[in-house]
C-alpha cells in the first residue's frame, strides 16, 4: 500500500501488524536453514527437546482491522499471537511433519530456481508422502503454515498463485518486451491473469475506462464480454471465477492504484458466499492474512442486492443451503462488515432464500447489460 496509505494516520495498528516479507529465494532458504539449525541445536543440547513450530495464529481472534482515516480502504491484518505445532501432541503429529515436508520441497524448488503451482505441489507431495497428504486443501493449509512460520509470502516460497482470473474490456496490458494486448478484443474468454506476481507487477497498463466491474462468476463474465458491455459503459471486467485468488486481487489492487478515480463495483450472487467474495476483495482474508492485507481495495456492492429481487421471478429464488448459513454466521461475526451489508445479510437470512445473477435473464438475454448500465448510471451501489 503506497502513497495514500503512508499519509494516513495509523499509529497503533502498525505496531500490531504482522506480515509476510516478500523475499528472494536465497533469503527464504536462509530462513529455512535457520529453522533446521535451531531444531538440531535443541535436539543436541544437554537438555534435549523436539522443538515446536511457532506459527502466527490465523484465527479471527488474532485479526485486527485497520481503518484508513484518510483513505476509503479498510483492511484485515493479523497480529502477533502465536500458536504452535508440536510433534508430541497426539492427533497433531502429522500436521507437524507436513510443515517440514513442505519446507523440504520448497527448499529443493528454490535451489533449482523452479516455480510451481499449488496443484503441482500437491501431486508431488502425494507421490512422495501419501501417508501425510491426501487433499489439495491440506496442502494449501500446510503452505499457509509455512508462510506463518517463516513469515515470507507464498510467492517467495516459489509457489505460484493459480492462473485463474480473467480480464476483459477497455484496458491495454503490456508485458515487458511484448506487444500490448487489447483486452476488449480478447473475445469472451478475456485475458488470462498470470499466477506469476512478478510478471503482474511489471505489466504496463493503459485505460480509458470509467469503471472496474468485478464479476463473481465465469459465465456472467463471458456473457458481458461477449455482449461488449464494456463498450456501452466504458469499463474493465475482471473475474476470479469464484473465490478471489491472490493473483486477481493483486492485479485489481494494481489497477486501483494506477487508476484511483475508477470506482470498483462488484457483481455477485445474492447469497452469503457472494458477499464473502466481495468482502475478500474489499478487506482481504484471515486465511492469507499475512499477505492479503496488501491487496485490499475499495470495492462497492453493485448487485445483486435485496432491492433487485423485484426484477426477478419468485420461482428463481432458491432456499439457502446449510453451507450458506455457515458462511453467513462467519460474516456476521466479522468486525469489518459495514451496517448496510449487515442489513442485506439479515434480509437473506430472514427470507431463507438466495438468488443467482442468471435469474435476471428471465427478462431477456440482453437484460443483464441494461441492468448493469442502469445501476452504474444511477450510482446505485453501496
Amino acid at each position: 500500500m503506497d502513497d495514500l496509505s503512508k499519509s494516513s494516520m495509523k499509529f497503533f495498528s502498525d505496531q500490531q501488524l504482522c506480515f509476510a516479507d516478500i523475499l528472494l529465494p536465497h533469503e527464504v532458504q536462509a530462513r529455512i536453514q535457520v529453522a533446521v539449525l535451531n531444531f538440531l541445536k535443541i535436539l543436541s543440547s544437554p537438555d534435549p527437546e523436539i522443538s515446536d513450530l511457532p506459527l502466527i495464529n490465523r484465527k479471527s481472534s488474532n485479526s485486527r482491522v485497520s481503518e484508513g482515516i484518510l483513505t476509503d480502504v479498510s483492511w484485515i491484518f493479523l497480529s502477533h499471537s502465536f500458536c504452535s505445532r508440536s510433534l508430541m501432541k497426539a492427533n497433531a503429529t502429522k500436521a507437524f511433519i507436513r510443515v517440514w515436508k513442505v519446507m523440504e520441497m520448497c527448499f529443493e524448488f528454490l535451489t533449482q530456481e523452479k516455480r510451481v503451482t499449488q496443484r503441482e505441489l500437491f501431486y508431488k507431495l502425494l507421490c512422495d508422502s501419501p501417508h501425510y497428504f491426501s487433499s489439495q486443501l491440506q496442502v494449501n493449509r500446510t503452505i499457509q503454515d509455512v508462510v506463518a512460520l517463516l513469515r515470507c509470502s507464498r510467492y517467495s516460497l516459489g509457489i505460484m498463485a493459480s492462473s485463474k482470473g480473467l480480464v476483459a474490456g477497455r484496458i491495454l496490458l503490456q508485458e515487458p518486451n511484448q506487444e500490448a494486448v487489447d483486452c476488449s478484443a480478447c473475445g469472451s474468454s478475456g485475458y488470462a491473469i498470470s499466477g506469476d506476481l512478478n510478471l503482474l507487477e511489471s505489466l504496463i497498463m493503459k485505460t480509458d475506462a470509467r469503471y472496474i466491474v468485478v464479476v463473481e462468476k465465469h459465465a456472467i463474465f463471458q456473457r458481458l464480454a461477449e455482449d461488449h458491455v464494456f463498450n456501452q459503459i466504458p469499463s474493465i471486467l475482471l473475474t476470479a471465477k469464484g473465490y478471489p485468488d491472490i493473483a486477481t486481487r493483486f492485479l485489481l489492487h494494481r489497477m486501483s492504484r494506477a487508476f484511483p478515480d475508477l470506482p470498483i463495483l462488484a457483481l455477485v450472487d445474492w447469497n452469503p458466499a457472494g458477499l464473502a467474495i466481495l468482502s475478500t476483495y474489499k478487506f482481504g482474508s484471515i486465511g492469507m492474512g499475512l499477505e492479503a492485507y496488501r491487496y485490499a481495495c475499495n470495492v462497492k456492492w453493485l448487485g445483486l442486492r435485496g432491492d433487485d429481487l423485484q426484477l426477478i421471478p419468485q420461482q428463481s429464488l432458491a432456499p439457502l443451503k446449510p453451507r450458506d448459513l455457515q458462511i453467513a454466521r462467519s460474516l456476521i461475526s466479522s468486525t469489518t462488515l459495514q451496517d448496510n451489508y449487515r442489513q442485506e445479510l439479515a434480509v437473506m437470512m430472514q427470507s431463507g432464500q438466495r438468488a443467482e445473477i442468471e435469474a435476471l435473464y428471465s427478462n431477456g438475454y440482453d437484460y443483464l447489460g441494461k441492468y448493469l448500465a442502469k445501476k452504474i448510471v444511477q450510482a446505485n451501489y453501496i
Partner: protein
C-alpha cells in the same frame, strides 16, 4: 510352594529347615544349599536384593522347574531385565513400619520348546512376612489402579487365584514375558505385629519397580503414546536430512554435521544424516517418556488434523466447487 519359597532366599530360614530335617534325604538339603549360579549374594544383602535375586533365578530356571538356568532361552544377560521397588509407610501413617517390596522381571524370549508360554498373562506371586501368602483385596485393587498405559501396557483383568494374582494383558508382544513378586512385611519382623495390607503402599512399590525398569533400560515399557510418536521419527528425520543435503551452503552443512556429531567429510550420504537425526529424535522421545510430567494425550486440540477451526469462506467455497475436478475452481 517350595519352588516359590526359594524366591525369598532367606539364609536363616534355610538353616531352620536343615535342623528340622536332620535325617532327611540328602536331596532336600542339596536343594536348600544349592549354590547360586546366577548372582552371588553375600550375607549382608538386603531383603529386596535377595528377593530380586530369587525371582531372577526363578525365571531363569523356568519357575524353578529346572535345577539350573536354561541356557537355550537365556543365552545372553540381556534377555532378562529385572528391577525392584521398595515402599515403606511413614511414621505418621496409621500403620507405621510397613514395608512393601516389589520385583518385576521382563524376559524377552522366542517361542521355545522348554518354556510353556504363559501368553498374555502374569502370575503375581505374593509373600507376607517372609511366607507365601494369599492375595489380598488391597493388592488386587493396587494392581488394577496403576496407570499401565504409561508403561505401554493395557491391563484386561486381575483376578485372585488363591496363591497368586493372575493379570491378563491386552496384546503383549509375543516374545515378552512379565513376572512379578510382591512382598509385604513389618520392619519389626519376626516380632509379632498385626496389620492390614495397604493398597497405596503396594501400588507405590510396584510403580517404583516399573519406573526403575524404565530408567535403567531405554526403550523398555514405553508408553503407547511414545511408541506412536517414535513411528513418525523416520519421516521427520528424512525431511530435515533432505533440506540439509539439498543445500549449497557449505557453512550450513558443516554446522549441521557438527551438531549431529558427524565427521566433516563431504562424502556423508543422506542415509547417514537421516539415521543420526532419527536416533536423536527417538532418544529424546524415550528419555522424556520416563519423566513424571509427560505430555498427556491431548484432548481435542486446536491442531487436530482434519477439522477446520475457524470457518474460512475460501475453504467452504473450495469444498462446494471442487467436485467438478476443474483445476481452476481452487481459490488462491
Amino acid at each position: 510352594m517350595d519352588h516359590e519359597m526359594l524366591i525369598l532366599k532367606i539364609p536363616s530360614v534355610a538353616a531352620e529347615l536343615v535342623i528340622e530335617r536332620g535325617d532327611a534325604s540328602g536331596l532336600r538339603c542339596e536343594n536348600v544349599f544349592l549354590p547360586n549360579e546366577c548372582s552371588p549374594l553375600n550375607f549382608s544383602s538386603s531383603n529386596v536384593e535377595r528377593l530380586k535375586s530369587g525371582l531372577e533365578e526363578y525365571v531363569l530356571k523356568h519357575r524353578n522347574s529346572l535345577n539350573n538356568k536354561c541356557d537355550s532361552c537365556f543365552c545372553s544377560r540381556e534377555k532378562l531385565k529385572i528391577s525392584s521397588g521398595v515402599a515403606s509407610s511413614m511414621e505418621s501413617h496409621r500403620s507405621p513400619g510397613l514395608i512393601v517390596e516389589a520385583v518385576i522381571a521382563i524376559s524377552e524370549l522366542p517361542e521355545s520348546l522348554c518354556f510353556r508360554s504363559s501368553g498374555n498373562k502374569t502370575e503375581v506371586l505374593h509373600f507376607k512376612d517372609f511366607s507365601p501368602s494369599s492375595v489380598s483385596i488391597a493388592s488386587l485393587n493396587a494392581l488394577t489402579s496403576i496407570d499401565w498405559r504409561s508403561y505401554g501396557l493395557t491391563l484386561v483383568s486381575a483376578v485372585d487365584q488363591v496363591d497368586h494374582a493372575l493379570i491378563e494383558w491386552e496384546s503383549l508382544p509375543p516374545y515378552l514375558h512379565i513376572d512379578m513378586v510382591i512382598h509385604c512385611y513389618h520392619k519389626q519382623y519376626p516380632g509379632k505385629y498385626k496389620y492390614q495390607p495397604d493398597r497405596h503402599l503396594i501400588k507405590k512399590g510396584v510403580k517404583l519397580a516399573l519406573d526403575d525398569l524404565k530408567e535403567k533400560h531405554t526403550g523398555l515399557l514405553l508408553s503407547a503414546h511414545a511408541v506412536k510418536i517414535c513411528s513418525y521419527a523416520p519421516d521427520l528425520a528424512s525431511s530435515i536430512a533432505g533440506i540439509i543435503l539439498s543445500s549449497n551452503d557449505l557453512k550450513f552443512r558443516s554446522k549441521c554435521s557438527t551438531l549431529l556429531e558427524l565427521s566433516q567429510s563431504q562424502a556423508i550420504g543422506k542415509q547417514t544424516v537421516e539415521d543420526r537425526i532419527k536416533e536423536k529424535i527417538i532418544s529424546v522421545i524415550e528419555t522424556n517418556d520416563r519423566k513424571p510430567e509427560k505430555i498427556k494425550e491431548a484432548a481435542p486440540f486446536l491442531f487436530e488434523d482434519d477439522r477446520p477451526q475457524d470457518l474460512d469462506p475460501a475453504d467452504l467455497y473450495l469444498e462446494e466447487h471442487a467436485g467438478g475436478g476443474n483445476v481452476f475452481s481452487f481459490p488462491d
